[in-house]
Amino acid sequence: MNDAAIRLKDVTVRFEEKRLAFDCTIPTGSAVAVAGPSGAGKSTLFNVIAGFQKPASGSVALIGEDMAGRDPAERPVSIIFQDNNLFAHLTIADNVALGIHPGLKLDTAARQSVFAALSRVGLGGYERRLPGSLSGGERQRVALARALVRRRPILLLDEPFAALDPAMRADMARLLSELRAETKSTMLFITHQPDDIRRLADSVIFLEAGVILLDEPARDFLSRREPSTIAKFLGHSAL
């Protein structure tokens, strides 16, 4: 039963006039791309898993445990947003250290692990700097370093590459797949780029109008010619 890292069962979420419904199982250790037009419910899906959004009905189970009534910090989840992942007034080291203790009370070993995580993402020596002096890609890597020290089995990435240029996207994707191989974590990421799926994903969840339209291996997804929304997403519509 521990094969499923994420199990959403008949989950519904209600906004004013919209109703979203999610039902899916994501196996442990897989990398899943979440795609779909804007407003389809990608971020809502993440919010339900991370605990920012309470479902109107249905159940959310992560690593085999029911999550009802659990605050976001009490779930086995790390989340990285598109931006604003770092507190602007805290140093890079402190921002990472918050992943170990929310009051920044660290012993020597913990402090060592912060330094280790930062050098693992290629930012050794940046410890004392403030987020404002880093580039967008570097700031995302700091967020990754924090996810590393938090050691949560599920990693959610909400368009982590959106603000990066193509070369940095490729670097970031390489780093992500290395880290996944090392940590054996389950990874979900929202993306608008077929390239990201090609580089990183085992499977794809495609959402439209608040429901999961497709949930299939990345290879099958990438060779699709229909339905038209997916063809458009993959850039095949011009063919």
Partner: protein, 539 residues
């Protein structure tokens, strides 16, 4: 976006704040009602009627004058964007906001009074009968002094929000000044004018200190001052109660009208945006004239306060034990009331956010509705009225002076509340949208969140709000006027009694001290203000 324990804490804090304000204001109102029930006195006599009429009349005139003068000032400032001293005129226009009304009134008397600069000039010009600063004229001069810069700043902010391309287009099309005003500026001004006018009218209708010092006799008295006179001079509680009821009715109608007119104006200067006005070139002379007169009007009373204050015998003042005691009393009261104000403001800002989550309980949602209203309760029931209620209640327990510090502290805190909420609300809103989910996902909550996330980012708005609340309390004369007693005086009260006993040199010295303290508190935050337009933390 709060963790479980934080939600519980906030609900408790919200309940405490709500209960405290309601009990405090409710008790005062209940006492007033009880007194009103017992009296068989005739209700509206000629005097009451005249006072009510004068209150509305002076507020209407003050509003009209302030707005009509603010429009050319704002247009001139919007058109002339680069002349030397522009930034100083903008800074000068903030000063009246932070200055205690009593200090400003004293400065205005120095300039416009019988021995003042204006009458000297008029005499030189051959005019025999001097202009009197007491009565309606003085009240209008003072209200324009406070509200013209306020209105001009709001209007300028609105004009600065016009897309820069409009000016390029209008220059390209060859629009003249008249066409520019009619087609571009007026539509924008018209939208914000009702809100600004409503705000100015409210401030003038509830004006106490200016009318107390510059109003003359029963012919120029507002309801609030009449309450004070009924209570402290005529010992006529029935009349005070009646007038309080009248004041609440008037403000209730005003608030209702204001809510119909739409929201109070936004100030936020659009910092750093490059606006180029080609129509400013041909109007340098006339705009320069307008801005010079404006600057003189605001700066002259300030300069007069400074020069006559410096002429005071500070050596003697420094040894005056009464002044020492008043200064300590004022500092203690204003510090305590600023703490209280911020403490009540926090749940007012935060509990409504709690209610936005879909699963908020009935009690939370009710509280979220009631709390913001509590924040502006003091607008409905003005300080003098609340003070009157408590004065009548505590009278039965003996010497009212004993309770004065506590009551004045609370009333001052409630007075500052609308301002404090207005400073903290947008700051919290931006801060939470940036950090709430992140802090929650990392489990940085409770004290950890306060220490590592909230305080470093919100330090500045907090200190601004605190300083404003403190300055407001330091300069307040209304609550202490009702409660002032033998052996108890705040700085403004001491200043007021020195003015009343014609010890003008002492008064000028005290006014300078009070004015400097208040400006030190308020100016640092306004001089560098860049609201909402700060660069993001991750940029």
């Amino acid at each position: 976006m709060f963790a479980r324990t934080e939600r519980r804490m906030l609900r408790v804090a919200g309940g405490l704040a709500l209960g405290f304000v309601l009990v405090f204001a409710g008790a005062a109102t209940a006492v007033l009602l009880a007194h009103a029930g017992g009296s068989g006195a005739p209700l509206f006599d000629a005097y009451t009627w005249r006072v009510a009429q004068f209150t509305l009349m002076q507020a209407t005139l003050s509003t009209l004058l302030s707005i009509m003068l603010a429009i050319p000032v704002a247009r001139a400032l919007a058109r002339q964007r680069t002349f030397p001293g522009r930034v100083w005129i903008l800074r000068l226009s903030v000063v009246p906001l932070g200055l205690p009304a009593l200090v400003a009134a004293l400065g205005i008397i120095e300039i416009w009074g019988r021995q003042g600069l204006v009458n000297d000039l008029l005499r030189l010009g051959g005019l025999e009968s001097p202009v009197s600063v007491y009565g309606l004229a003085g009240i209008l001069i003072a209200h324009v002094f406070f509200n013209l810069p306020l209105a001009a700043r709001f209007l300028l902010a609105a004009l600065d929000r016009i897309p820069p391309e409009y000016w390029l287009t209008s220059a390209n099309l060859g629009m003249g000044s008249g066409a520019t005003f009619r087609l571009i500026e007026w539509p924008v001004i018209r939208r914000v004018l009702p809100g600004i006018a409503g705000l100015v009218f409210m401030l003038c209708a509830a004006s106490f200190t200016v009318v107390l010092t510059l109003g003359g006799g029963p012919a120029a008295t507002t309801i609030e001052v009449a309450i004070y006179q009924a209570l402290r001079f005529d010992f006529d509680p029935e009349r005070a109660v009646l007038l309080s009821g009248l004041q609440i009715a008037v403000t209730a109608v005003l608030i209702w009208l204001l809510s119909l007119f739409g929201r109070p104006p936004e100030e936020g200067m659009t910092a750093g945006r490059d606006i180029r006005r080609f129509d400013g070139r041909g109007r340098r002379l006339s705009d320069g004239l307008i801005l010079s007169v404006f600057t003189l009007y605001i700066a002259a009373p300030l300069a007069a306060t400074l020069t006559s204050g410096l002429a005071a015998d500070f050596g003697r003042l420094a040894l005056d034990p009464l002044l020492h005691r008043a200064l300590m009393t004022s500092l203690a009261i204003s510090f305590a009331s600023a703490c209280l104000s911020v403490a009540i403001a926090l749940p007012i800002v935060l509990v409504p956010r709690l209610a936005k989550a879909g699963d908020a309980g009935m009690a939370t949602r009710l509280m979220a509705r009631a709390l913001p209203a509590t924040g502006s309760l003091i607008l409905l029931v003005p300080p003098v009225v609340v003070a009157t209620g408590w004065f009548l209640m505590l009278r039965t327990f003996g010497e009212t002076g004993r309770f004065a510090p506590a009551i004045i502290t609370i009333i001052n805190a409630l007075m500052a509340l609308p301002f404090v909420v207005r400073v903290l609300e947008p700051a919290y809103s931006t801060h939470l949208s940036r950090t709430a989910r992140l802090a929650l996902s990392l489990g940085v909550t409770g004290m950890h969140r306060l220490r590592w996330v909230d305080w470093p980012a919100l330090k500045k708005p907090f200190l601004t709000a605190f300083a404003f609340a403190m300055a407001l309390s330091l300069g307040d004369l209304s609550a202490v006027a009702i409660f002032g007693a033998e052996g108890f005086a705040t700085l403004p009260w001491l200043l007021f009694s020195r003015m009343a006993s014609y010890r003008t040199a002492d008064a000028a010295g005290i006014a300078l001290i009070l004015g400097v303290i208040c400006l030190l508190l308020t100016l640092p935050s306004t001089a560098t203000e860049r609201p909402t337009e700060r660069s993001g933390p991750d940029e």
